[in-house]
């Protein structure tokens, strides 16, 4: 007969071991709870897109990491985890409303100036494929900085939280990445 513990008991044991610094138990635990967290987020915020769901999931995982000492190993894990998910979702909702109150959605408006060249509709933004290729050739740190700050448009603080890099390091990596991209694109234009 199968004597394996109930799933929640298993998770509680993993967390108890993680609290003692067991890295393997912690990774196993996080991998086990991530689908549940994702499910909870989708169930409560069905309107979120996949990337937004993933953002909230990552925020919950970071929160679990930050307050793991508040978990009492004698109690079941899921109510503890669900409470964190619920509150982080509420925080995300409040942040969304706050940002909405301070930001105005604007359609792509034509920008015109008196000078004829400024009104040219022939102007292009360059070759997106060349840009994508150039980004792939960047060193990992610079590529990550560009992807997070320029493509996903995260704030420096958010990107710092995700990568563990300091804000200063992110700024430097972005600056160097832009310079490298500029050189690479100029070189490809000249060919």
């Amino acid at each position: 007969m199968d004597e394996s513990p109930a799933p929640d008991e298993h998770l509680a044991r993993l967390m108890a071991r993680a609290q003692q610094g067991d890295s393997n138990a912690y990774v196993t635990l996080l991998r086990a709870i991530t689908p549940r967290v994702r499910q909870l987020v989708r169930a409560r915020r069905g309107f979120l897109g996949e990337s937004d769901v993933e953002d909230v999931v990552q925020e919950v995982l970071l929160s679990v990491h930050a307050v793991r000492a508040t978990y009492d190993p004698a109690r079941p894990l899921m109510p503890w985890l669900s409470a964190i998910v619920r509150h982080r979702l509420a925080d995300a909702g409040r942040r969304h409303v706050r940002q909405g109150a301070h930001e105005i959605g604007v359609d792509d408006l034509d920008v015109t100036f008196q000078a004829p060249p400024a009104n040219s509709r022939e102007e292009t933004f360059g070759d997106p494929d060349a840009l994508a290729q150039a980004i792939q050739t960047l060193p990992p740190g610079q590529r990550q900085a560009v992807e997070l700050l320029k493509l996903r448009e995260l704030s420096l603080k958010e990107a710092s939280a995700l990568t563990g890099m300091s804000i200063g390091a992110l700024k430097i990596a972005t600056h160097r990445a832009i310079a490298t991209l500029r050189r690479a694109l100029r070189a490809s234009d000249e060919k």
Binding site: V27, A66, A69, T70, L81, I84, H87
Partner: protein, 218 residues
């Protein structure tokens, strides 16, 4: 960053994180500190002024006891509120305590009216008590804030309000010892007003000092 990468990074960063003691135990630890503060204040005050300055009527003792119990219940509720999964109704017991405290002071006002023919509200202003309670609350409440910041700030406003109520309940006793009042309604208005105002300020500013711990991974 992909979620899998984040998990690997968090796994690499994990260190020993001893579980926090239960809220009841943490409340007991804080209560020892708060009561010690009161004892020190009482000893200092009785050393410089006659103990007869405080008229320990049964109602006065009831009022101070209720303030003490309210403070302990509020501290326990605040400490429980930073533990995920705790009931969201942690505020009920301290609210009942605060209500009983208010009623006991109102009853004292009724007795004052019968005995002296006045509620005494206009005869005493009490700004020194406001200062004394705020300073005392800061001394009593600082360790509580430190303890709360080790938890999860799920409801910062409520947690901060309860913590302020806890600290100021003890500070109220300190103020009643150091500046005895002739009329109960003065205590209700000035001490109660101080508790309400400081707790409201704490609740409104809680998001600044009760934040989620640093979420960056090293």
């Amino acid at each position: 960053m992909r979620t899998d990468e984040l998990i690997d990074r968090l796994g690499r960063d994990v260190t020993v994180a001893q579980p926090l003691p239960a809220p009841g135990i943490r409340t007991a630890m804080w209560t020892v500190w708060a009561v010690s503060f009161l004892v020190v204040v009482a000893v200092m005050m009785f050393a410089v002024m006659s103990s007869a300055a405080v008229t320990a009527t049964p109602l006065y003792l009831v009022q101070q006891s209720v303030a003490l119990v309210t403070g302990i219940m509020a501290a326990r509720a605040a400490l429980a509120s930073v533990i995920p999964g705790t009931s969201s109704r942690v505020w009920v017991l301290p609210a009942i305590g605060a209500a009983v405290w208010g009623v006991s002071l109102l009853w004292g006002g009724v007795l004052d009216l019968q005995a002296s023919g006045t509620l005494g509200v206009a005869s005493q202003s009490d700004w020194p008590c406001v200062v004394s309670m705020t300073a005392g609350g800061l001394v009593v409440g600082s360790p509580l804030i430190w303890m709360l910041r080790r938890g999860a700030p799920l409801t910062p406003g409520l947690t901060a309000f309860l913590a302020a109520l806890a600290a100021l309940s003890f500070a109220n006793i300190e103020a009643c010892l150091t500046r005895p009042h002739a009329f109960a309604l003065t205590v209700l208005l000035w001490h109660g007003g101080t508790v309400a105002a400081v707790a409201a300020i704490c609740a409104l500013t809680a998001h600044r000092w009760l934040r989620w711990p640093d979420l960056t991974t090293r």
